[in-house]
């Protein structure tokens, strides 16, 4: 157990102590104790920066289940470190923010911070695990802790709905991913990601390559809210705002991006990889931004904008695969896509985190997040307004903020890829920059909406539940820090280039790095009059125009009926599957024992006959069979007729007597077969049985009044004939295939020498196989005890049945 492992597990180890602080130290907000954890971890992980920027990696292994190939291997390279810093850094800011956001007297903070620390530990585990099974374990832990956090205000119905939805979708993806992991293991023979990267060629040649890739991508797409699995994210906005800021903008939704980036070296040689990820990401980007415009809830806008931005990063990660296929230029221009992806990942975490916190402040200070009620807050909340403007304009991709740089690189990557001449991109590749452009226009519009609707326009303070005022200083610290980072990365983009972005990009292209190619990251603020700059200008012009005329075209959003939307389909499918399951259950679980017996009989006979036909066992041969004496025919006829006659008896009394006839007939057969002990037992027991039957019949006098003949049912008869025929066939089959001699020769020879008895059956019962007899005695004792208790002990007084019984008796009298 190294320090690195302890660092990963620190949040999980600290979590159990949080309730103690919460209950023990009521006067101090529990968040202050929690804050220590991410701050410590952030400084610890920052210490790895020199190592990874020198191109080195750190690996530490702890044995967990070595026989199954599952080792807890912590692995720090540029990509993991970038995510670890994001998780701990934003985590620290979010915890600080939550201290002022959540009231220590009204909220159950003990729960909240336990869930949050669980999530933080799980997330660190995901990004720092080399073993995929361990990674999957942490992955599901993020789903679970996210479920708990979304449902934090569990009294609210919407919270529970959102939590359930996100759980269903992310766990669905997680399980698909587990399937992909197992497939990959079967190809490579190891769960280690590094082994998979090293054996990339083996995986590429496997016939299951595509299946594994799709399964892994399902996991990534559901977690990162890609189309059509994005629907859980807007409903997850019912969580407290610090949770939305942390999980649903900066960290958890990026787990899918991390997975895609991490698995890129394994899959990206395949054109399917580029196409799937780029197109899904691009469409998600467009769809998210398109839907964000119509939202009236501020968090709703931010949720869809997160979806859109995640799609953007996802598509860039896909397009980055083109770098592997392009050799010929000194500078590999397609690598810009991956650089842009990593850069935008950082940028998005900063500006989206600050925006969420700003929305939380508005919610906290005005009592609503509905943009239709808000307006004119600029003068009362100047600091929040500044943060919102910086965040929104960075998101829209305007200079001088960091969003501008990554948006430029995004447009550059799409235009460059459109001019590629492989993977059939030459014909339809032009779609990519067009979709990117349209998506950017909508991004521009909703970014403007966020701060214009909230802070500008006419003040409607009388509509608000609270009188608005500026937030307390503590609440503003985190968003202001993030806003400063937004501007800082915008003006000095290269501070991160060598320390963080370059090692991360190198981790995505191990083959290129090994081939001696240099990953050159240089983000320049001004790079001349390029096509992408023109596109940005176009975005601004068109966006402004549409924003100005927004009232005229908002109507298109109401055209789609709810049933046809993705949410409608999701809800419908839940209702439908529930109904279908109930209908299915109601159809075969009838509650009548007869139905279940029919299933059992038909299944058994069917299987039996099918197996016999399958193995061709119908060719019976009867040799060395015993002779039949004429009186035996008579006895057989009597037994058969008695058994059949039972079926036609109107009353139960003759049935019982006929059953006795069958029993005595069987006893006689035992006599003919040379089984005196059997005959004796059978006679006695049949007598007692018939007596018992008659006793019961005697005590059910009312029944005889109601007796009717069994109604003939053709279905029952056919099943009965089927089962009877099957048993006869079974007997024939046993007679035709005698391969081994009986073990009984031993009994016959040794019955006197070893057991000092002459009656072989009795010696077998009490000596050779005495255990059977012991437990047969136990069965009889239990039966008699059971009968005794049934008659004697009654815990509940007879209620309804007895009453009806007595009433009937009285009316008859």
């Amino acid at each position: 157990m190294s320090v690195l492992h302890l660092a990963i597990l620190l949040p999980l180890l600290a979590a159990p102590f949080i309730p103690l602080f919460f209950w023990g130290l009521k006067r101090i907000h529990t968040g202050w104790f929690v804050l220590i954890v991410p701050v410590l971890l952030f400084t610890y992980f920052a210490g790895y920066m020199p190592t990874t920027s020198a191109g080195e990696v750190v690996t530490k292994t702890v044995s967990w289940m070595p026989s199954l190939g599952v080792e807890f291997t912590a692995y720090v390279d540029g990509l993991s470190l970038l995510f670890a810093l994001l998780i701990t850094g934003i985590g620290a800011l979010v915890v600080l923010y939550s201290i002022y956001y959540l009231d220590k007297d009204k909220e159950s903070l003990g729960h909240f911070y336990v869930y949050l620390l669980m999530f933080m530990g799980a997330m660190l585990g995901v990004v720092l695990s080399d073993n995929m099974i361990v990674m999957y374990m942490f992955w599901e832990l993020t789903s679970i802790s996210s479920f708990l956090l979304i449902g934090y205000w569990y009294e609210k119905e919407r919270s529970r709905y959102g939590a359930q939805k996100s759980m269903l979708l992310t766990v669905f993806g997680g399980l698909a991913m587990l399937g992909g992991i197992i497939l990959l293991e079967s190809m490579v023979g190891s769960y280690s990601i590094r082994e998979m990267v090293a054996n990339q060629a083996v995986i590429a040649e496997s016939p299951l390559f595509l299946v594994a890739m799709v399964l892994i991508l399902l996991g990534a797409f559901t977690k990162s809210a890609q189309f059509p699995f994005h629907i859980w994210l807007p409903d997850a906005m019912e969580a407290p705002t610090p949770v939305s800021a942390y999980l649903h903008s900066a960290t958890m939704v990026k787990a899918g991006l991390y997975l895609v980036a991490r698995m890129s070296p394994v899959f990206q040689e395949s054109p399917v990889w580029l196409w799937t990820i780029a197109s899904v990401g691009m469409f998600t980007m467009f769809w998210g931004s398109f839907n964000a415009v119509k939202q009236t809830d501020l968090k709703g806008i931010l949720a869809f904008s997160t979806v859109s931005q995640l799609g953007l990063i996802m598509s860039l990660l896909g397009l980055g695969a083109a770098a592997l296929h392009y050799e010929g230029l000194d500078e590999n221009i397609y690598m810009v896509a991956t650089i842009a992806a990593i850069f935008h990942l950082i940028n998005h975490a900063t500006f989206k985190g600050s925006l969420f916190m700003m929305v939380g402040i508005i919610d906290h200070e005005t009592g609503t997040r509905d943009v239709r009620k808000l307006g004119g807050l600029m003068t009362v909340m100047p600091i929040s307004f500044t943060v919102a403007v910086i965040g929104s304009l960075s998101m829209a991709g305007l200079p001088p903020f960091n969003g501008f740089l990554s948006k430029e690189m995004f447009l550059k990557a799409t235009t460059k890829v459109a001019s590629m001449d492989f993977f059939a991109l030459d014909s339809i590749g032009l779609i990519l920059p067009i979709v990117a452009f349209i998506g950017s226009v909508f991004t521009f519009i909703y970014s403007l909406l966020i701060f214009t609707r909230t802070f500008m326009g006419k003040a409607k303070f009388e509509l608000l539940p609270k009188t608005p005022h500026e937030a307390p200083v503590g609440m503003l610290i985190s968003p202001v820090i993030l806003a400063i980072l937004v501007v800082g990365f915008g003006l000095f983009p290269n501070v991160l280039s060598h320390s963080l972005i370059q090692p991360a990009v190198e981790a995505i292209y191990p083959s290129l790095v090994a081939g001696g190619e240099e990953v050159e990251v240089h983000i320049s603020f001004w790079h001349g009059l390029t096509p992408e700059l023109m596109m940005t200008i176009g975005v601004v012009l068109l966006g402004t125009l549409l924003f100005w005329q927004i009232g005229r075209w908002m109507g298109i959003y109401n055209r789609i009926p709810h049933r046809l939307t993705l949410n409608g389909m999701y809800d419908g499918s839940l209702v439908w599957s529930n109904k279908a399951a109930y209908r299915f259950k109601d159809n075969y679980m009838t509650g009548f024992i007869r139905s279940y017996l029919i299933y059992i009989f038909v299944f058994l006979s069917g299987m039996m006959l099918f197996t016999m036909a399958w193995l061709d066992l119908f060719n019976f041969s009867f040799e060395n069979l015993a002779e039949i004496a004429p009186y035996e025919y008579v006895l057989g006829a009597v037994v058969v007729l008695a058994a059949l006659a039972i079926l036609f008896m109107r009353s139960r009394l003759p049935s019982i007597i006929l059953l006795g006839v069958v029993g005595y007939g069987v006893a006689l057969f035992f006599v003919f077969f040379g089984a005196p002990d059997l005959a004796l037992t059978q006679l006695v027991i049949e007598t007692v049985s018939v007596a018992l039957f008659l006793l019961v019949f005697y005590h059910m006098p009312d029944i005889s009044k109601k007796e009717v003949r069994m109604r003939f049912k053709i279905g029952n008869a056919m099943i009965a004939i089927l089962v009877g025929a099957t048993v006869t066939m079974l007997s024939f089959m046993a007679l035709s295939n005698k391969s081994l001699t009986s073990i009984s020769e031993y009994y016959k020879e040794n019955v006197y020498e070893l057991a000092a008895g002459k009656n072989m059956v009795n010696v077998v019962l009490v000596d050779f196989r005495g255990f059977d007899t012991l437990f047969e005695i136990v069965v009889l004792s239990l039966a008699s005890l059971g009968i005794y208790t049934m008659i004697k002990f009654r815990t509940t007084r007879r209620t309804k049945g007895e009453g009806a019984h007595e009433a009937q008796k009285q009316t008859r009298q």
Binding site: I628, S655, G663, G724, V761, R798
Partner: protein, 113 residues
């Protein structure tokens, strides 16, 4: 002989199945009793019938019938008697409590919707 008995076993099984599928509790128990008769005969028959004298050691006799299936059937007879007796009393108590021996009237009333 074995073929003949096999057919009898089939008929007994058929009657047993038909009775077990009926509505009356008493008939169902009669059906199970017939089932056990069929099963006992089946065990004996498939082991081979009349291959010698009764399995009691007598000086000078060399051929005996197989004692093992007889021991098995003897055990089975006793167990099926125990179970039948238990069932019968159960049917009697059911009738006392519910005032019916019709299986279809004994359907549970709880629903899970």
């Amino acid at each position: 002989m074995e073929v003949f008995i096999s057919i009898i076993i089939g008929v007994l099984t058929m009657c047993a199945v038909y009775l077990v599928l009926s509505r009356s509790l008493l008939r169902i128990i009669i059906g199970t009793a017939l089932f056990s008769h069929a099963a006992h005969l089946l065990v004996l028959t498939t082991a081979g019938l009349k291959t010698g004298d009764a399995p009691v050691l007598v000086h000078g006799v060399t051929d005996y019938t197989d004692p093992l299936p007889q021991a098995l059937v003897l055990t089975a007879i006793v167990i099926s008697f125990g179970v039948t007796a238990f069932f019968l009393v159960l049917a009697y108590r059911t009738y006392q409590e519910l005032n019916t021996d019709n299986m279809e009237e004994m359907k549970g009333t709880e629903t899970y919707d």
